[in-house]
Structures are given as structure tokens and as C-alpha cells.
Symmetry: C2
Subunit: 323 residues, 2 copies
């Protein structure tokens, strides 16, 4: 491990040198000092990744742990239509964490940060007798008045999702069934689980063109996240089972279950006024956009099955207090 805090900070500063656009003081000072862009609002978010809760060291390579920890916070900025700018990383390290593991963790974060234009500007480090804990705070920005919230959905708005849902949950299942040392990144589901891609460009597209009435990211599973969007908007929703893009074409029932309740896809969930639906493209870049349902005045979630029957849909995704 690092000899002392000074040697850790020196190593980290060397690693991230040159990534600090708009940065006046960073990792060596008490706090980071950064510019705020004119005419913009700030987006502030933070997400924890805890060993044995959000990752397992037997399943997740350190690089994936770093990638996922930062991706969660970047995705929260995407979920408001914003641009992520700065990140702070708090890291509580267990006895087992070697210097090589910590270095790989940071490489995973920095590689993602670079692609998304995020500067790593500060953080905190400590030792812990418990599991490894990473908390990543991201500051983003959005032109004033353009942020998309969860609360804007109105009855008759159409519900869309990006990408395929449940892919990450399927990837986790595959990893657990074959706990080899080298995960096969050629498998799409495993790649989606280990290295999820936040949808910032799509979020900004929806915000710039004023296409979405409400927006959020899918982190805890569609059934849970849509319920939160509906609660914030004081509405209900109806989904069509056959329109929901699941991860495994072979087993329709299993695929639907994963798509409804599997978390960590970091795709976007958004609602669109009926008059604007024609302006939503079938694909954004290489990500397909799917219309999956409709906002309704009646509270609660309902699922229209393939046979036309309607049943109520209960949130069964991730809830930290219910586990």
C-alpha cells in the first residue's frame, strides 16, 4: 500500500495531471476550486459503492468497480439532461485492498472520466475495518431552466426507455454462474454489467430540443424507478409487456422479469408529450429508443400482458432499506 497520505496524493496527482480544465486548486489543497459556467445551473449528486452490496471482489475486477462507481454519478447528471464536469472520490480502504487494486480502481474511473470530460478534482481517503466503500460526488451543469426533472410527466405522455433493460442483471447472473478470473467482455450482458455506459449525450439531446416532459435514469430497476417518477409527477402509468425491450430473446418470461426489476442498466427513462412523439428517433447514435407505455391520471403502475390482460405492477427493484 502507499507509504503515507503524501505519497498517495503524489501518485494520484501524477495520474490525473492535465485533466483539470477550469481547475485552480485541487487535490493538494483543502478543497478544489473550480469555475462555474455563466448562465448555467449546477447539478450535484453523490453515489456510494460498497463491497458486498454494490460489488464483490470475486466477481468485479477493480477497474470495473472504479468504472461503475463513477458511472452511477455521471448517470445522475445525464438523468437531468446535464453535462458532468467535476468529480470527488472518497475511498475507505479495507486491509485486503492492495496498491495494485487501488491503482486499477482509479484507472477504471479515470478512463471513464476522460471520455465524459469529467475532471477528478478531489476527495478523501481513509482506512476501514469493514468493507471497501467508494463514494463519488459529481458536479454537472445545465443551461439555466433546461434541467429535466422527474416531476414533469402528465397524463397521456408516452413513456420511453433507451437501450435494452435487464442486460446488467443478466450479466451479473452469468458472472455468478461462472466465477472465473477473466470475465468474457465479448458477452454483451457481462460488458453491460461491468462497464455500463451513462447516456449523457441522449440526456442533453432531450433537454436541448425540449423533447421530454420528465427524465430519470434507470438505476434500481424499471418497476421501482418508474414508480418514483410517477410519485414525483403525481400520476400513474401503464406499460405494455410486449413493448419492453428485455435482455434474452429465448425466454420471454425471464426476459420480462429482468427488464422490469433488474437494476444498474443506467439507461434513461423519459416521458414525451403526445404531440412530440414523432420527433423521437428510433435510435440515438447506437442506442435504440423504445416507447413502452403511457402516463395515466390513475395512480399506480399497470402492466398490459401479451394476452391483453391487465395486472398491477409492484415495485420490485432495489431498495436499500428493504433488502
Amino acid at each position: 500500500m502507499f507509504e503515507n497520505e503524501t505519497s498517495f496524493v503524489r501518485w494520484l496527482r501524477g495520474l490525473i495531471r492535465g485533466s483539470g480544465r477550469g481547475l485552480r486548486a485541487g487535490i493538494r489543497d483543502d478543497a478544489a476550486l473550480v469555475e462555474a459556467r455563466r448562465g448555467h445551473e449546477l447539478i450535484l449528486t453523490t453515489d456510494m459503492s460498497i463491497e458486498n452490496v454494490h460489488f464483490r471482489r470475486q466477481l468485479h475486477p477493480a477497474r470495473s468497480v472504479g468504472h461503475r462507481a463513477l458511472a452511477r454519478s455521471i448517470s445522475d447528471v445525464a438523468a437531468m439532461g446535464g453535462q458532468p464536469r467535476y468529480a470527488l472520490v472518497s475511498l475507505a480502504l479495507s486491509e485486503w485492498a492492495t496498491r495494485a487494486w487501488v491503482e486499477e480502481l482509479y484507472l477504471g474511473m479515470l478512463s471513464l472520466a476522460k471520455r465524459f470530460g469529467v475532471a477528478l478534482v478531489g476527495g478523501d481517503t481513509a482506512r476501514t475495518s469493514g468493507p471497501v466503500m467508494i463514494d463519488v460526488m459529481v458536479v454537472g451543469e445545465v443551461p439555466r431552466g433546461r434541467a429535466l426533472l422527474r416531476s414533469g410527466a402528465r397524463p397521456r405522455d408516452q413513456i420511453f426507455v433507451s437501450g435494452r433493460l435487464g442486460l446488467s442483471a443478466l450479466g451479473l447472473r452469468l458472472l455468478m454462474s461462472q466465477p472465473r478470473r477473466k470475465p468474457t467482455l465479448r458477452n454483451e450482458a457481462i460488458r453491460a454489467h461491468l462497464y455500463p455506459e451513462p447516456q449523457c449525450a441522449l440526456g442533453r439531446f432531450l433537454s436541448d430540443r425540449r423533447l421530454a416532459s420528465a427524465l430519470m435514469d434507470l438505476s434500481d430497476g424499471l418497476s421501482t424507478d418508474l414508480a418514483r417518477l410517477c410519485e414525483a409527477s403525481r400520476v400513474g402509468a401503464r406499460l405494455w409487456a410486449n413493448l419492453i425491450p428485455g435482455p434474452s430473446p429465448q425466454d420471454a418470461q425471464d426476459s420480462l422479469h429482468l427488464a422490469l426489476h433488474g437494476g444498474e442498466d443506467y439507461q434513461l427513462l423519459f416521458t414525451v408529450h403526445p404531440g412530440r412523439v414523432s420527433r423521437i428517433p428510433a435510435r440515438f447514435g447506437n442506442v435504440p429508443l423504445h416507447r413502452i407505455g403511457e402516463i395515466q391520471r390513475t395512480k399506480g403502475l399497470r402492466l398490459v400482458e401479451t394476452d391483453g390482460s391487465v395486472q398491477s405492477l409492484n415495485p420490485a427493484g432495489w431498495d436499500c432499506f428493504a433488502q
Copy 2:
């Protein structure tokens, strides 16, 4: 404990209602959306508080744990001459943490936040099999170009500290020697340990009047923190033992040791150009300001003892990798 995440978020929103000046979306959305003030730069900082590392539940009441967790980050903003504005709180909860404990923790944070004009705007919550972990991120602001950094100290600048040093370390010692259920807050040292007061007003005073060449807060102990300031400024320093304000007048040697190496005082350490020393008041509000030494060209720290002898001073405060 809370039934689920929704009930926790509802409770928290009720608690902090009305504290969100400048806030457009907060705890219920993916991220917080806040205003950035014109002509200001942003200060970003984060600090972890881990059970059995930064606090012990046998010694620290939950209200103190919350107070201290937020005070650490507010103090980082004070250490740049800034004004704290927003806080995000990540909380990893162990099995033992009851709802009453969590509520007291938040009350400790919110009471301090209110006094310092800080709005609690977001965060994350999770369960952990390990110790309780709290990570508090604070966003502050400072008029453009006015932030005070660690790197501005020059040879012949005079070194000042606010308050009395080592008081918190003495308070911790007293708490450990008498682990009763109710700590006696009438004792100044115990109060300083459990409820430290960040020095934001003093930091802003030094920045507004351009009085300090370098500034930082004393979180890890004078010997460690001054070494960091000197490293950032590429200088050395000489301190006079008899000028250092220690916590216990009875035992001079013990008092000096606590003042040099005891951490968590959250007082300010700053350097002043010789031509401006006369403009530093003896007290700022109810906090005394003490001149304790001088910046020198020669690297390293030296301590002038009461008998005039000079010895080198090694950093012996807190270092997370060295524990």
C-alpha cells in the same frame, strides 16, 4: 429503522423543508439542482467519518457524530476563505444503527448547517455489514480570485493560528478516561471535541481584506498540517514553543505535545506578509489569534524551545496510511 427508501426520503424532506434557498430540485430527484452565484468560483470538498476511525459510538453521541461529519467539510471551505452553501450526505448504515440514532445524527448536521447557511440538498443511503460511514460533500463559493490557498506562503511571512490548539485531543482523552453516558459539555475541551466550530467568518475576513498569503484548516494536527502548507509553498518554517497556545496550562510539556500533534481542532492556520502583521487583530470575535512562528526559505520545520535551543519538528499528526 425506516420501512423503505421512500419513507426515509419523506422523513428527511420533512426535516429539511424550507432550508433550500436557491434550490430547484433536491432530495427527491436524481440529483440536486442549484444556482451558482455570479462572479464566484466554486469550492468542492468531501470528508469521510468512519466508525472506530473518526468516531466511537460509546464516546460520541449521534448528534456529535453528525455535527463533526459536517463540520469537517465546512471547515475545508473556511480554509479557502469561502462561504459554504450546499451539502450532500452519503450514509452507509450498520445493523446496529437505529432510527433514533439516524435521526439524532441528522439533527446534529442540520443544526450546524442552519447556523452556517448550508442547505442539505441530497445524498445517498445504503446498508453495510461494516462500520457506519458518513461522507459529507460541501459546495462553497468565493468571489473570483479571492480564494486563499496553501501555496502562497513566502519566506519571512509570519505564521498565525486561531483559538487554542490541542483542545479537541484533550477532550477526547477526557472522554476516554470517563466513558459515562452523558459527556459534560461544560468542559471546554470536551465541547471542543464533540462540537467543533468551523471558522468560516475568520476565513472570509482574511480573504476579503487580503490579509493572508496562505490559509488552511487544522484538521490533522499542527505539525502535520504546517508541513503540508510548507510543501505546497515550497518553504520551511520555524515555530516558537512558548507562543503556541496549548490546551492545559498546568502541564506545559503535555500541553505543547497536544497543541503540536493533536488533530481535529478545525482552527485556522495562516501566514501573513510582515507588512500586514499589524492589521491582524488580537481577537476575531471571541477567537484569539496567535502569532506562533515564521516562514523560512530553508525547508523543514524547526521548533525553538523555551530555553532557546532549536530542534527539528517532525509531522506526528494524523495520516490515514501511516496508522
